[in-house]
């Protein structure tokens, strides 16, 4: 899970590393993920989102498709 200066830099890195280009995430979307996962992490009742909750979080941020499905077996 890495940062890149632009979408073009992602494509260059993926080509060099021999990995597929996956869905690109804007920083405002990443902030939404961070808040959903971790805003309560220091509270006693904190817990990691479960698969269905993960799907809802991803969809709410516009991150949909098999890549974001925590139970998918094809990508």
């Amino acid at each position: 899970m890495l940062f890149f200066r632009s979408e073009e830099r992602v494509r260059q890195w993926c080509a060099g590393a021999g990995v597929p280009v996956r869905p690109l995430v804007r920083l405002d979307q990443l902030w939404g993920l961070a808040v959903a996962w971790y805003a309560t992490r220091l509270r006693p009742d904190s817990r990691r989102p479960q698969p269905e909750e993960m799907r809802r979080i991803f969809a709410g941020l516009g991150l949909e498709g098999p890549f974001w499905d925590p139970r998918a077996d094809s990508f």
Partner: protein, 138 residues
């Protein structure tokens, strides 16, 4: 909670003895507690079985991702977690990292509404269903 409180307050990983002291439990109970946290996917240990590698979003070892919050500098496990530390610490701070392709530094102020608009992108090579196959690689 003792593990996370320690990270938040000190910006470094706790030893098993420090966890036991914070939780007011015998040190002998710490390994079983670590195993429960691992099963919940909120803790990853080093190969020695006692040192904390990851207590997401906190990293027990230095990384290229640094969150600056509450006057401290925290190492994060990845690009997602460096934002996550800021979120966990109240939503205000700064992120320091880099572009993995060019090594250009990234320095972002984070306000409660999130980071400023930017052309920077986040990329994860591993699909969500496989993140925990090898979470350190992910």
């Amino acid at each position: 909670m003792a593990v996370y409180r320690h990270f938040a307050e000190t910006a470094r990983r706790p030893s098993p003895e420090e966890v036991a002291a914070r939780a007011a439990v015998p040190a002998a109970e710490v390994p079983a507690a670590y195993a429960r946290l691992r099963a919940q996917r909120v803790l990853v240990l080093e190969d020695d079985g006692v040192s904390i590698r990851m207590a997401p979003p906190f990293s027990g070892v230095p990384t290229q991702h640094v969150a600056v919050a509450a006057g401290k500098r925290y190492f994060a496990n990845c690009a997602w977690d460096v934002f996550g530390i800021i979120a966990a610490m109240g939503g205000t701070g700064a992120v320091e990292s880099r572009c993995e392709q060019t090594l250009e530094p990234l320095r972002l102020p984070i306000e409660p509404g999130g980071p400023p608009a930017s052309d920077w992108r986040f990329h994860c090579a591993v699909p969500a269903a496989h993140w925990w196959d090898d979470i350190v690689l992910t």
